[in-house]
Symmetry: D2
Subunit: 307 residues, 4 copies
Amino acid sequence: MDYQAILEEIYQEIKPHIGKGKVADYIPELAKVDPNQFAMSIVTVDGESYHVGEYQKRFSIQSISKVFTFTMALTIYSKELYKRVGVEPSGSPFNSLVQLEYEHGIPRNPFINAGAIVITDSLISHYQDEFITLENILGFIRDISDTPDININPAVAKSEMEHGFRNRALANLIKSFGNLDNDPITCVQTYFKHCAVEMSTAELARAMLYLANHGYDPLSQKEFITPTQAKRINAVMLTCGHYDASGEFAFHVGLPGKSGVGGGIVAVVPGKMGICVWSPPLNSYGNSYAGTIALELFTTKTGLSIF
Amino acid sequence: MDYQAILEEIYQEIKPHIGKGKVADYIPELAKVDPNQFAMSIVTVDGESYHVGEYQKRFSIQSISKVFTFTMALTIYSKELYKRVGVEPSGSPFNSLVQLEYEHGIPRNPFINAGAIVITDSLISHYQDEFITLENILGFIRDISDTPDININPAVAKSEMEHGFRNRALANLIKSFGNLDNDPITCVQTYFKHCAVEMSTAELARAMLYLANHGYDPLSQKEFITPTQAKRINAVMLTCGHYDASGEFAFHVGLPGKSGVGGGIVAVVPGKMGICVWSPPLNSYGNSYAGTIALELFTTKTGLSIF
Amino acid sequence: MDYQAILEEIYQEIKPHIGKGKVADYIPELAKVDPNQFAMSIVTVDGESYHVGEYQKRFSIQSISKVFTFTMALTIYSKELYKRVGVEPSGSPFNSLVQLEYEHGIPRNPFINAGAIVITDSLISHYQDEFITLENILGFIRDISDTPDININPAVAKSEMEHGFRNRALANLIKSFGNLDNDPITCVQTYFKHCAVEMSTAELARAMLYLANHGYDPLSQKEFITPTQAKRINAVMLTCGHYDASGEFAFHVGLPGKSGVGGGIVAVVPGKMGICVWSPPLNSYGNSYAGTIALELFTTKTGLSIF
Amino acid sequence: MDYQAILEEIYQEIKPHIGKGKVADYIPELAKVDPNQFAMSIVTVDGESYHVGEYQKRFSIQSISKVFTFTMALTIYSKELYKRVGVEPSGSPFNSLVQLEYEHGIPRNPFINAGAIVITDSLISHYQDEFITLENILGFIRDISDTPDININPAVAKSEMEHGFRNRALANLIKSFGNLDNDPITCVQTYFKHCAVEMSTAELARAMLYLANHGYDPLSQKEFITPTQAKRINAVMLTCGHYDASGEFAFHVGLPGKSGVGGGIVAVVPGKMGICVWSPPLNSYGNSYAGTIALELFTTKTGLSIF
């Protein structure tokens, strides 16, 4: 298939939609971004890459970082991790707190905020220090994307910390059930920092190769995780990757993926490629408006849905 | 691959697990079944079929019937159906009523009971009579399984009706929000009847071919639904097919599937085959204990996960 | 105190408020009532009575009937009744179903619909037949009001039955938890019928005397219940008598009371008098708009709050 | 009535119950208390006082302090306070977070923890500093109890702070809805400090006189609040004073009251007296086991229920 031609086609068709939706504005730093931006990148397991739009411009990856921290936790912990966080979809956002309460502080999956905070806590316990934890998270992201200069935007992390009272509430509630080892504020701060990593669509599509290729990065020839682990991360991305629109995403796109409120979405075609699309304004579910449509166009045009 | 050998292997490995778990006993008719039974069937899109165990013995398909009624509703209604029922996973069972209330009587997906009752209501409205509706549901199931003598077990349907107060509560609550056109008791009765259809694993694996082959049955050469509809039904099976263990099933098995409290589970390998496994005792999530393990063994041995 | 003068004063002050609010319109029969009506009656334990407005006009007592069925159940059952229904306020109406589910089908108090349906069920079990149950409820109401011709409006009961899907949902849910002995539809029908009793403010104020006078009706010289039972019914009216505005009512009025969606409110000044006020339009909590204000004016003018 | 004789009688009857129940142990400092203690005090509006047991021994007043901060807030703010906190009972403790979420961060009443934290926040905003706020709270408590040496136990406050993750979660959630002006941790710290005030039953019964006498302290001849404010505080104590056993307390005791996990309960007989009872072990609702029984005995023996 001529992926470059398909990307160009999508780019033309998506143009009327770019700028629609609403840029995340719950923190001032994210609200500043120009909404009229779009980029899409594909990197295949053969090492081919295809791009359209501003594919070298870095943006705040936000919740996409949860895929990376979950991967790291899987390499450190085995079954005991699932006593602390489940792999089930979470239902409506309204229920986030009531579910956490009903289920005694065990978040339903690693991709809701509560679950990602528990994962971050597990990393801090392993590395014994939050600074070393962040160094290792950054190191892992640099490794899988084969890009040494990826970094955190400290202004975004600080802005999140100043406004993230709901996430602090979640962390304190989890702590009250005994499911955080470390101080809740430390966990939330570390979580906000890894969410504030900045990457481009080119770098993120590249970073997905280990998940597209059974845990083994075919370009760097590094084995990051086992085939079973890769399969499972993809499964959790499919069922839980898009908050309360995960079912819709499976229904319309049909690929494992993970979105972030910065407007990025990563996706994986198992055995074939990593994909990343970016456009800042969000739809009502908090996923990139144009990005979601672009991915739906992609699977329609290529037939590359897993279903 | 030598599927017969793989099935035999699974059968040997599963034997110690047969009988573990708990047969559904909320209605006396289902509680009567012998727990020490197991069957597994594969039917490929090329028309090959492979079986182990009691694959010709019919059992109560229960919630597996929801796949068939959802398919029928999709051929009758288009987007307006999604105003009445969503495609999102539903969270914990505890939330079934609160979610329905919070979301104003719109069930989250067609595979939870509330959603299936709305789907049944939509069919009754279309066929204008509950008897004709049941005739059409039976006709559709006979068509996709290419088996003319499939029928309802009236004792099971009657037993459900005598004990199904929770489903009546759901139907009345949905009606109170205006999301049922017909009388709630009529909807529940019709729903209980299509759940009481009896089929064997051989028949159910065969009946999955239209979903495994883009809506087109390669053996009977009938086009039941469009490729897009098939893709979407598979997506909803993956994200919502196993109640509150849908994430676990995607995680461990990695195939679109649907379970029933009669102990049956159907699954689809897109482009390749329909699968059905059956063993009556259930695990704590209400899915067949041995059946779930058998399907996990199957994807592990064959590598046929979609991830 | 010159109660007649106080009632006249209240009547003058309340006039600008009569007609404000919204008549209950969830059933056509209740929606037909003229909203511009008002009446208020006082009957003291000495047998004096004072009235303003249309105090002889009968209206649908609706939930006020729950006070009478609860009283009857208390005379039949002792502590075992509290295993089936609690005496705690119920929180927001949104939670009605979730609380019932969380608390395994035990309604929080006898004055929410779920609790009143359980009380009705307990009466049907005692009288062994729903017709005899209704005869006894009517008999009790005629006794405490000393008015032999009080009756049910069958059109209102029928209209409720045709539209009361939410109450049917509640009854079926309670039944699913095993907390109804009789058929849920029979319980709901009987409940709707006793809610459809019609009385005037004069008759209802009179009927409150047994609660104002320690269980003993000073006029008819009948002892309906013990002093402890009277005290407890008053306590439950105070904490639970006005749905999710029970706290507001205690706060602003400061008397045990019970409202109905027909626009009536009964209240008790312990040791002194029974009160009833009626005006059909309701405030946002489902309690009589003008009636609530009239009772607040009454306790302000007389200082007869229990606090 | 010979109140001293009645107290002595209660003391004899209560002896077998002293020590039953479970001392609050969620913080080490509270768990240290000797469970076999009991005291009860009455102070009448005429200035008579009656005591039994260890009525001069100070204990941690905990949530009883919420009555005092609510009183202070009422003297500072008028109707605008009720936009930030309601006066409705709160339903089951399970719902505390879901109700707060469903009701957009507006706690249902000033006596649940969430509501008391909002009240504390309102005081900090008024006094512009948390130290001055605490000074004023202490000043007010010293005034109403006419006891200049009442103080905070800093070890208890510190212990709460080290373990109070659930209260921190509540405060952060309220802040996320914009219903705290000050830093959530500052609010929680100040709240924990005023809960750590220590008083005896003699002092607390004395401190209730302003509520028993329409806002005016008959002994010190100070008018702390208006009669309407006193009436309303009593109403909120009756409907919301004992968490999820408020209905039970109204039902069995029939007096406005407020309990604390330190084992104290204050109560008011309007127009007549202030009461305080203390015994550390708690019943399953978190209210003093022996204390609740003692108060029920008191109203049974004296007939002083408000109903």
